[in-house]
Structure formats: C-alpha cells, structure tokens
C-alpha cells in the first residue's frame, strides 16, 4: 500500500467507528415491515419478481384456474375484447369445455390491446433463464394455467407457439428459436389492458365489473388470520395472466385479530394482518399457478396495481392522497365503512420504484408522505 491507500484505510476505519447502530430498533422495524405490510416495500421490478414463488400445487391451481376460465366465459368478453380494432371472427359459441389444452389452430386475436413480455429472469443475476418447449408435447405451462388451446407453427429454425381461448381466438403468441433439438422460448405478445396494463379496467377500484366472487371463509389464507367481523368488498376486476387468459379477482378486507387483512378470491397464497392507523396494502398477488422452470413467464403474473390502505377510527383523518414524482397518473381513492371505523384505499399505478407518494390527510395537519 502506498501512503494514500494506508491513510484511506485508516480514515475509513475511523469514520466507520463513529457510526452508532441501534440494532434493536432496526430489528423491530424489520420485524414490523416483513410481518405487517410487505406489500408497501415492494417495488416495480422486485415486486414482480416476488410474485414468482407461488406454492399452490399445480393440481389445485389447475382446478382453480379452470373454474376461473369457465366463469369468465360465462360473463362474456371484456371491455378490451369488445373494442378490438381488428376484425375478429364472429364469436363462436363455446363448445363443451375441454378437459385440458387441445392442439388446434387458433384464429385472430381476441383482444384489442396487447403487450410484449420476456421469459423470466434469474433472481440472482437478472439474466434471462433459458426455457424450452417440445412441439411434440402439450406445453407444461398450458396445462398448469389450463389454457384451452395451443398450436405450434414451425418454419425451419424459427416458429411460434399460439395459445387460444375456449372460443379459439388467439390470446398470446410466443416466438420460438430452434436450439439443437429443442425450441427455445423467446418474447411473448399477449392480451393486456390498455397501455400494457394487466387489467382491462385498471382504475375501477370499487366499481365492479361483474358479480364479485363470494368471500371464502374456508380459504387457507383466511384460516390463518380468521375474520372477527364482516368482510368488506374492496375491489373486483378482470385481468390477463401470463398466458393471456382473462381471469377475475375479487378483493375483500376483513377485521382480524390485531387489525385487518386483505383476502383475494380466488385465494392468494399469503395474508398479513395490518394494524389500525398504519399504512398497509394488498399487493394483488393473484397468480394461482406455480412458476417453476416449466412456466417461463410465471413471473409475469401481472400483479395488479398496488392498493395502499389505512384503517382508522380517528376522525382527524380525512383520507389518503396519492401522487407521483414522475407525474404519472395514479389510481382512484375510496372510503369504506369498516365496522365503526373507516378504511381508506388508494391505487398506486406507477410502476417506478419509489415514484409513489402516499399522504395521510388530517384536519390537524397532514402526515409526511410515505414513498413506495
């Protein structure tokens, strides 16, 4: 080491030694944040990445998803599909629901809006993880997500894999490249809401798009934090999953021991109890399928926008305000009666890490904004 290096090492050590660390306080904060409101610490990319480790058994997921698909088609096409700019074939009457994915050619797109996604990336390196399909077999992903129809079109060293809905319309198209004797999965174009958003109607918080799914007291997550009062309907909407299938999800808030919790129907895999007078939220983890190597787009579970919430009986509080540093529009707010208290919710639409600011509004003076 030369003189500069020696001196730098000494000064760095001295400077570091001046830092006093309150480990107990920090540990309390970490405990609180990881237990009560993990959603609010989730940010754009990591937030999506965290959607990956779903643990629902594939068989259970398939059943849940099949129910969702049948239900969705009973309700007819979404807003997005109704406004398709490209001529779509006359809606075919869905025949009897197939028992699994069938290999049949698909027609034109089922939807007006589409987006392009890439296969999942490594959590460690953030590199694309190679994923392959075998055109001689039903794609595992199609089975896991209960995609009604699939079809490979191969041409030399390139090809595409189309997924179709029950009516035979295309819901996604995935590029394939031959790699040895296998076919590597590339970019996927799939149905989405406007501007690539997951939901056809992403700002309809509290404005129900269909008959909400009933609250399920027997759901595994609800059993972990049982209700101590009546659940309140917070949101109900359709969204597109990673294969392009249209699904429905309903969100309830319900009182539980120690505060309140959010529960999604169909069931999500986790629940957190959020204390009163504290910002919390639901991160809309609605993907019911696992995301192993067989599901290269599993992490594109298309989490809905983050819903930030605040439950209080304090009449000094008048609401929540949501803004964005980048100037992007944020979602709507709502105020719900909740067992003698008031539950305030806002929708964070910005996907930029740290871009969203939420302020608790008080008559006596607003609280400092919290950044998400």
């Amino acid at each position: 080491m030369n003189e500069t290096e020696t001196r730098l090492a000494d000064e760095l050590k001295q400077e570091a030694d001046t830092v006093q660390v309150d480990l107990d306080r920090m540990w309390s904060v970490v405990q609180e944040q990881t237990r009560t409101s993990p959603a609010v610490h989730r940010t754009a990319r990591p937030w999506r990445r965290r959607l990956a480790p779903y643990v629902a058994a594939a068989s259970v997921a398939a059943v849940v998803v099949t129910v969702a698909v049948v239900d969705n088609h009973d309700r007819g096409p979404s807003t997005a599909t109704q406004t398709s700019p490209t001529p779509t074939p006359a809606k075919k009457k869905p025949t009897k629901a197939p028992s699994g994915p069938v290999d049949q050619p698909v027609d034109d797109w089922a939807c007006a809006y589409r987006t392009v996604i890439q296969p999942r990336r490594s959590l460690q390196t953030y590199e694309l993880v190679p994923a392959f399909v075998d055109p001689r077999e039903v794609p595992d992903e199609a089975k896991d997500y209960a995609v009604p129809r699939y079809h490979f079109t191969l041409n030399g060293k390139t090809g595409v894999l189309d997924y179709g809905d029950a009516a035979g319309r295309r819901i996604s198209r995935t590029k394939l490249t031959k790699s040895g004797d296998r076919w590597r999965v590339g970019d996927r174009t799939l149905c989405s809401g406007a501007d690539g958003r997951p939901s056809p109607d992403p700002v309809a918080l509290g404005k129900y798009t269909a008959k909400p799914r009933p609250f399920n007291t027997k759901a595994d997550t609800v059993k972990q934090a049982p209700p101590t009062g009546t659940p309140v309907l917070v949101d109900d909407r359709t969204y597109f999953d990673g294969t392009g299938l249209l699904r429905q999800t309903t969100l309830y808030a319900y009182p539980a021991k120690g505060g309140y919790a959010f529960a999604r129907v169909p069931d999500s895999n986790s629940v957190w109890v959020i204390p009163d007078n504290r910002l919390g939220g639901d991160s809309a983890q609605v993907n019911s399928s696992s995301s192993g190597p067989t599901n290269p787009f599993g992490e594109h579970a298309f989490s809905l926008d983050l819903i930030v919430s605040y439950l209080t009986g304090d009449r000094d509080v008048t609401g929540l305000r949501i803004t964005s540093d980048s100037g992007q529009p944020q979602g709507p707010a709502q105020k719900l009666a909740f067992g003698g208290k008031t539950l305030y919710t806002v929708v964070a639409r910005s996907k930029i890490d740290g871009d969203t600011l939420v302020t608790v509004l008080r008559k006596s003076g607003n609280e400092a904004p919290r950044r998400y």
Partner: protein, 164 residues
C-alpha cells in the same frame, strides 16, 4: 402465510444481528443519507426473496444488496433533485459544518469521486475485500474494479497533493 421476521425465525434474526451493524457502516461510507433505513430495506427485500432459501455466498450477497440499495437511493435522489425542490429538510447549517469538520480529509475527498470509484475504494480499503468479491458486489468485471481502484486512489492522492 408470511409470518414476517418474527423472533421465532432465529436464523433470520441471527443473520440480521450478525451483519446489520457492518452493513450500516458500509452504507454510511458509501454515502447513504439514511444508512440504517437502507439496510433495513435491504433486509426486508432479502427476507421476502430468500425466505425459503439462502444464497451460497451469503456475505457477498448481502454486500451486493446494500451496494445496490444505496446506489438506487442515490440515483433516485439525484432524479428527484432535478425535478423538484427538496422535500426533506436539510440539517441546520451549523450542524452541517460540525459534521464536515469531524470527517477526515480523505473520506471527505471520497465524496467527490464518482459513485463507482467510491464503492470500489470502500469495499477494498474498509471491508478489505478481494478484487473478485468487489466485482461480485458491484456486478462489474474484475478489470473494471482494478481500474476504478487505481484511478480512485490516484485522484485521492492528487487531491491530497492539491491540499498541501
């Protein structure tokens, strides 16, 4: 159910208590405005991402998380500075002077270096990390680390000379 980082999760708590202090000091030397908050955030992320499995090189991984967290915050802070007035109240002027006076000459000069040079120097001369580990923590090539350290030391030496 995500039980959170409860006391009943000894492995996570042990991990936290073992490494958090060192990581807060690392964040401080890297120039984080709120080092404790940066490390808390890093541990929360770590908890969510790795609740079921731990990376092979745990220490290196934690270093990298903190380096990334500080870097992200600094980037965000720069962007915010460009867009609007400061929302955060700056410390009183006299407090700022006292702080600066307590800082050693080279550490103060370190603040003027490019963020990556600063990261490389702190990881090398405070944590005493091998070059390969620095490259992993910064997610850059080994050659880049050598270059950053070499140029960083040269610039610090120059600043010392200028000061004399």
């Amino acid at each position: 159910m995500a039980a959170g980082a409860v006391p009943g999760d000894p492995s996570f708590e042990e991990l936290f208590r073992l490494h958090a202090g060192r990581l807060v000091r690392l964040a401080h030397l890297l120039g984080a405005d709120d080092p404790e908050d940066a490390v808390q955030e890093a541990f929360c992320r770590f908890f969510v991402v790795h609740r079921d499995r731990r990376p092979d090189n745990l220490v290196g991984y934690l270093n990298r998380m903190v380096v990334n967290e500080v870097r992200t915050r600094q980037r965000r802070s720069k962007l915010a500075d460009r867009k609007r007035l400061h929302l955060v109240t700056a410390p009183p002027a006299n407090e700022q002077i006292e702080r600066d006076e307590s800082v050693h000459e080279l550490v103060r000069a370190l603040r003027d270096l490019a963020p990556r040079q600063r990261e490389a120097l702190v990881l090398r001369y405070w944590l005493d990390l091998p070059l390969a580990d620095i490259a992993a923590a910064m997610e850059v090539r080994l050659g880049t680390v050598k270059s950053l350290i070499s140029r960083g030391v040269a610039r610090l030496g120059q600043k010392l000379e200028d000061h004399r």
